[in-house]
């Protein structure tokens, strides 16, 4: 069953069209990545789904999500692009904020927080002040926070869950990008649907069930990675010549730039 349906959604701010007639669907356990050049409207689309901005046209439906704000926060977690926290919380306290919508008791929360700290490889930082961390470390802390918001210990729940991530890998090194992908895979195995904006096309090709390629607000291509990651699409999106090769281990498409 689809838990998210976006039907012909457009977002217009004054005369500018940020998102133009985009449609997509997402089922439980699916991972959809949005790729595209800067200013393509990827983040606006994500904010639309998050409920931060209203679509000017079209319909956006979440199926099986509670109306109540607290209840909904247990089902829908959002990682924004940049984070402004400049108060010296401890790392573990920031991750614990993900448990605010739950009233599951300190012991249970503690277990989940410890788990999410380990998942993002920040257990050794848990006593550090957030403000003293590097960019990549901060990003991992925020990721652990949103994962803690949706996490359930036995992995099974009877309600749909959706995780929205806006460029979660930008500040991460290669090892931690891989760590994140593994964590996301575990979430999808437990039925969490994930919608994320990614800059790294090759990363998107490896982890996504579906990719949506956007430029100037409209959809250039959508479908499984093998259909979207093609040289003509890359030419349209990024205006640069590329060649597609196969990943040696899983044969997913990989983009390599070539001289024009």
């Amino acid at each position: 069953m689809n838990l998210l349906e976006v039907i012909n959604v457009s977002v217009k701010v004054s005369a500018r069209t940020l998102v133009d007639q985009i449609s997509l669907t997402l089922r439980a356990g699916q991972l959809l990545s949005i790729i595209g050049p800067n200013g393509a409207g990827k983040s606006s689309l994500l904010k639309c789904v998050a409920g931060d901005i209203e679509p000017t046209e079209g319909k956006l439906q979440l199926h099986g999500f509670a109306e109540g704000q607290v209840q909904r926060a247990r089902q829908l977690a959002v990682l924004p692009q940049l984070s402004l926290l400049n108060f010296p919380f401890r790392v573990s306290e920031v991750v614990a904020l993900g448990r605010v919508p739950h009233s599951s008791g300190a012991a249970h929360d503690g277990e989940i927080i410890a788990h999410c700290l380990a998942l993002m490889d920040i257990t050794h930082l848990q006593e550090r002040r957030y403000t003293t961390l590097s960019g990549g470390e901060k990003q991992r802390v925020q990721l652990a926070r949103v994962i803690a918001q949706l996490w359930v210990t036995d992995g099974k729940v009877d309600y749909p869950r959706l995780l929205l991530l806006d460029e979660p890998t930008t500040a991460l090194d290669m090892g931690h990008q891989q760590l994140l992908l593994t964590a996301l895979q575990r979430l999808t195995e437990h039925g969490v649907a994930i919608l994320m904006v990614l800059h790294d096309v090759n990363l998107a090709a490896r982890c996504s069930d579906t990719i949506l390629a956007m430029k100037d607000g409209h959809c250039v291509a959508a479908g499984p990675p093998s259909q979207v990651i093609t040289a003509p699409t890359m030419q349209t999106l990024f205006n640069t010549a590329t060649q597609i090769v196969r990943h040696p281990s899983d044969a997913s498409p990989m983009v390599v730039s070539v001289d024009g």
Binding site: Q69, R72, R90, E93, L97, V100
Partner: protein
């Protein structure tokens, strides 16, 4: 934990020393009601205790409101007196004295309620205005916030000047008497009002601790954590306006307590509002008790208004915070 010991100690110190030093022995005996009719007991019960209670309540109110303002603005430099809330409240109160002075007598409970209402309204309008000006989706600008405070303080000064210009002699006397306010006017009525307000605010605000923690992440982040951001913001703004407004109505404007105390407390217990709020209330009570002690004893028998002492302590503190603001990630 510290504060729980320091608070009663500063209270005893505040009632023991003054223009007349009572000494530990007779202070304790009078406090424990072993002696009633001595001179020490009279000084204690008629003058020192009401004043010390007032200092403790107003200090607690100002510090906890400061901590909430900083959480609300997501900015450790937001202090009610710096962003114009105190000035707004003062002007509201002066306007109320000017226009309502002919209708209700400014003595006793009706007068206090009228002045408090004016201060509350003035404060509430100011916080909302500054909030609208200084915060955006990308955070709070320190510059805009402080400049808005400067503008509002100037506007408030202009309005007060105009009121004084057009006041007759009697009205002028009323306004200036009230403005000198300070803690020396503590009576059983004002102490009771301060006690009720402070206990109410201190009891209600910790309910917002989780919401304030989430708000520090940003408004939309807080919304995604299930916080009803608009409602919470409005309620917090009204509570801060009430707290600051009442403290202005009861004791005049006392600056910097709401900046210095939460900052020190944050260094000691961290920024989590669940501990920050109650600890700030206690810290504020301690600071103002001690500041008032200094105000009463430093140039005895003359007494300084306590606001002068807090300003002398607070201004350098604030300047040093401004100097190192980059280490809080502020610009």
């Amino acid at each position: 934990m510290w504060f729980a010991i320091a608070l009663p100690l500063s209270f005893v110190a505040a009632v023991m020393w003054g223009a007349v030093n009572l000494g530990a022995d007779s202070t304790l005996r009078a406090l424990l009601a072993l002696e009633r009719d001595t001179q020490a007991a009279m000084i204690l019960y008629d003058i020192r205790i009401p004043r010390a209670l007032m200092a403790a309540f107003v200090g607690a109110l100002l510090a906890i409101c400061g901590a909430v303002t900083q959480g609300l603005f997501r900015n450790p430099l937001a202090d009610p007196s710096l962003i114009g809330v105190t000035a707004g409240a003062t002007t509201g109160a002066a306007l109320m004295i000017f226009f309502a002075g002919g209708v209700v007598s400014l003595q006793g409970l009706p007068g206090l309620s009228a002045v408090s209402l004016g201060a509350f309204l003035g404060g509430a309008i100011t916080v909302m205005l500054v909030y609208r000006l200084a915060t955006s989706a990308t955070g709070t600008s320190v510059t805009t916030m402080l400049l808005a405070g400067v503008a509002i303080t100037a506007l408030a000064g202009g309005l007060s000047g105009m009121l004084e210009y057009f006041s007759d002699n009697q009205m002028l006397r009323r306004i200036s008497l009230w403005r000198m306010g300070g803690l020396d006017g503590a009576s059983s009525l004002t102490v009771t009002v301060a006690a009720v307000a402070t206990l109410l605010v201190v009891a209600i605000l910790p309910r917002y601790a989780n919401a304030l923690n989430a708000l520090l992440l940003g408004e939309s982040e807080a919304r995604h954590l299930g916080i009803a951001v608009q409602t919470v913001k409005l309620q917090l703004i009204l509570i801060v306006a009430l707290g600051v407004g009442l403290s202005v109505a009861l004791a005049g404007s006392i600056a910097f307590v709401g900046l210095v105390v939460p900052h020190i407390v944050r260094l000691m217990v961290g920024p989590d509002h669940r501990t920050l709020l109650p600890a700030s209330a206690m810290g504020g009570a301690i600071l103002l008790l001690l500041a008032d002690l200094v105000a009463r004893t430093s140039v005895a028998p003359v007494e300084l208004p306590v606001g002068i002492v807090t300003a002398l302590l607070g201004a350098p503190f604030f300047i040093s915070l401004l100097r190192y603001r980059h280490s809080y990630g502020m610009q």
